[in-house]
């Protein structure tokens, strides 16, 4: 693989962040206009985390994602159309409409799926890393999870094994300051990075609004994990702009509007990275505006497509409960 020039890679990161934001804006609109079945959790504000990390991965590398998973899915290479189709329960969705927002998966790009059990994917990511090593594939697995998920015991169980067995897995804790309607300091005692370190895992804290910082650290750690120096732990300090889910509108009882607008105005990962790109003279403001416009157009088109797309046929309801096994395999000598 030839190394892309820095500017190329910067622009890719910028574009990917804008794609996430555009996707979420459309998804929110779908909810507000009552076209979305159920609820969904917006990733807006956290784009630099998913993009900074996923741009350091190959498409064979695996990730596991969360209930707030659209960002990871886009960053790992998914297409808008199949994503919106999935969110609307349509047959052309990544999971034929069976998974929806909280279970969206895109195995062709190494995304093993969002997960509606907080912390539920920590074993899966660790197992993918174990599998990568057993198969000699050279892949790395990244486990995305929130600060709230650090309360789940499963994390400590699998970190222990990952450390004992030196597995190529990166635990990426997206600390957005809240789990649902509760501040992180009310649910997390001590220090999150120290918890990983206690298992002998090298741990870092990084500004999750700075895509370059995230990407640089990720590149280093992923390269080292590939060489067998893993596992690693990263705590990424970030913020979610919307409520816990799209329906969480009145949230002043747990966080102030001032706090929200401070993050949005001063620490937005897209605005700041765009400003830096132009300040460095790497790109003209109009170029960025053109990217934005293209991406938003794509998103709108994809929404229109998905709205018009077909639901799965009723006969699908009891398909895919069990995976088929080739009968020849189940015979002697098979």
């Amino acid at each position: 693989m030839t190394q892309p020039s820095n500017t190329e890679s910067y622009l890719r990161m910028y574009t990917q962040m804008v794609r996430i934001r555009a996707f979420e804006d459309q998804a929110n609109q779908l909810y507000l206009s009552a076209k979305m079945p159920g609820l969904t959790h917006m990733y807006s504000g956290q784009e630099a985390v998913a993009v900074g990390i996923c741009e350091a991965l190959t498409s064979d590398d695996k990730i596991t994602s969360t209930h707030r998973g659209h960002g990871h899915c886009v960053a790992k290479g998914a297409e808008f159309k199949q994503m919106f189709c999935e969110l609307l329960g349509k047959e052309e969705g990544y999971c034929r409409g069976k998974g929806g927002s909280m279970h969206i998966a895109d195995q062709s790009n190494g995304n093993l799926g969002a997960n509606a059990i907080v912390g539920g994917s920590m074993g899966i990511a660790t197992g993918a890393a174990m599998s990568a090593r057993a198969r000699g594939s050279g892949e790395v697995a990244v486990c995305f999870f929130g600060d709230g998920a650090t309360a789940q015991g499963l994390m400590y169980e699998v970190m222990n094994m990952a450390a004992l067995w030196k597995l190529p897995v990166i635990y990426a804790c997206e600390n957005n300051g809240y789990s649902e309607y509760t501040r992180t300091d009310e649910i997390a005692a001590g220090s999150i990075v120290a918890r990983a370190e206690a298992f002998g895992i090298e741990a870092h804290q990084v500004d999750g609004q700075d895509v370059l910082a995230v990407n640089e650290l990720s590149q280093k750690l992923i390269a080292r994990a590939r060489k067998g120096e893993g596992p690693f732990f990263i705590e990424l300090m970030t913020y979610r702009y919307h409520g816990h889910h799209v329906g969480d509108i009145n949230r002043e009882y747990y966080r102030t509007k001032d706090e929200e607008s401070d993050w949005k105005s001063n620490r937005d990962p897209i605005t700041n990275f765009g400003r830096w790109l132009t300040e460095q003279g790497l790109v003209a403001p109009e170029d960025l505006a053109a990217i934005d416009a293209d991406v938003y157009k794509d998103a709108e088109d994809a929404v229109a497509y998905a709205l018009a797309a077909a639901y799965p046929d009723g006969s699908e309801v009891d398909m895919h409960v069990y995976a088929p096994t080739d009968p020849a395999t189940l015979r002697v000598g098979g």
Binding site: K98, G100, A116, I117, A151, G153, Y181, I187, Y254, D318
Partner: protein, 331 residues
Amino acid sequence: MREITLSKAVNEAIAEEMRRDPTVFVIGEDVAEAGTPFKVLSGLVEEFGTDRIVDTPIAEPGFMGIAVGAAMTGMRPIVDLMFGDFLFLVMDQLCNQAAKTHYMSGGKLSVPLVLRTNMGATRRSAAQHSQSLHALVAHIPGLMVAMPSSAYEAKGLMKTAIRENNPVVIFEDKLMYQDKAPVPEEEYLIPFGQANVKREGTDITLIGTSSMVQVAEKAAEILAGQGISAEVIDPRTIVPLDEATLLASVKKTSRAIVIDEGHQGYGITGEIAARLNEKAFYHLDAPVCRMGAMDVPVPFSPALEDLTVPTPERVAALAARLVAGEMLHDA
């Protein structure tokens, strides 16, 4: 009589019992200021404070275990499990610890706790937020299992659950939180193990749990239009189960369908049907039939999800076949 929502009924039950007994407390995720995502507990923290309405980290096995220890030592915890699907996470503390402690200690220790959680699909919440898992806990000796079918039931059963000296799992139907029903202002409790005959009938017995009681009642309406008289029974608690009331009805009507929103396969309908078949065999004109949720993970797509749960139309159609004797020819 005033009408209140199921959500409000649960809230009242807990508040009344907390006023009555200082050892009662609530523990779970976002139960305090947020009052749970379904807002069922709104207002309680204002009255009882954060020492008795305790917000936890996202650690279901952990706070379930803490509740067991608190219950063993003089407190009466109400564990709030945000979604019934998370039962899988607390099974060890619930089934290996809470359920067995009284027995294993030869009756010396007891675990008076309530695990309140929910069930019910068709909210477009997909496979990990839509399950109805009461069959799993009903199988474990030492646990009691309540399934309220209305606001009235929810209040009365919750109050009994809190006063019980045993671990009780109570399943509220998420879809019913906003449903209103007449609920007296005066205190009342609903005893465990006493089924409620919701509608009398002579041709067939429809036994429904939780929201399936409403489904059964609607099916009975449809059947009435066809000249078929259906009796509708709500067992209220599946452990203990009021076998006597169910048997009396089936012996009278000679036919029955058990309707439940858990998966049909190896779920609670099989047990109830098997008991009725066994003990009312001589009186039956048709096999006791069942209608549970389909044996598939709950799909997200609305086009699929609605197919997975029993509906009044499907129950009525099956009942009509039974009454017509069509099941006999199959069997």
